[in-house]
């Protein structure tokens, strides 16, 4: 069973992680309802 996706919730933190891990960012703009 796979783990759930561990989402970042802060844009700048995601950018820092992406730069250090050299990975692209997948952004899900969603409607929290």
């Amino acid at each position: 069973m796979a783990e759930k996706i561990k989402w970042e919730s802060d844009f700048n933190q995601a950018l820092e992680r992406a730069a250090s891990e050299q990975r692209p960012i997948l952004v899900d703009f969603f409607n929290p309802g």
Binding site: M1, A2, E3, K4, I5, K6, W7, E8, S9, F11, A14, L15, R17, A18, A19, E21, Q22, R23, P24, I25, L26, V27, D28, F29, F30, N31, P32
Partner: protein, 150 residues
């Protein structure tokens, strides 16, 4: 989005292995404005510096999501002029997900990447031929029509 796509183990594993996943409410500023978000879900692929390379607006079937992501990874390299690497990603879409909605764009961009790499027109002609054979109703086939005249 989650109820449709993300519960699939394969998708979760692929995202966690290859991306930094970021979830933002659609009205989060300044990002909603910066990325011109008008509807949900809007899924955007950014490079590691935050520049956009690929997006989809609206729901996507679970089996379409991984090819969408691989195409996006290829487009990051394509946009950066790294055509050989980009071609590898486009080939991966076509090998593993030839019937996906991302496949026609992968054929198109693979042909353009080959042209940009070699300056030979043959890959463009082959691209149009393949698109007409395999994806005759795709918009990408229409876009490739001029290559048939080369």
């Amino acid at each position: 989005m989650e109820s449709v796509t993300f519960p699939k183990d394969e998708v979760v594993n692929f995202v966690m292995k290859n991306f930094v996943p970021l979830r933002l409410a659609h009205d989060t500023q300044p990002h909603a404005t910066d990325f011109n978000v008008k509807w949900t879900p809007t899924i955007v692929i950014l490079d590691s510096r935050g520049k956009e390379h690929h997006r989809i607006v609206g729901f996507m079937r679970g089996d379409e999501f991984i090819p969408f992501l691989i195409l996006g990874m290829g487009k990051i390299h394509y946009d950066n002029g790294e055509y050989e690497v980009a071609i590898n990603y486009f080939n991966q879409v076509l090998q593993d997900y030839p019937n996906s909605g991302s496949a026609p764009e992968a054929v198109f961009l693979r042909g353009v990447s080959s042209f940009k790499k070699t300056n030979e027109t043959e890959p463009l002609k082959e691209t149009y031929k393949l698109l007409t054979e395999k994806y005759p109703d795709s918009d990408w086939t229409k876009r490739a029509f001029p290559y048939s005249l080369l």
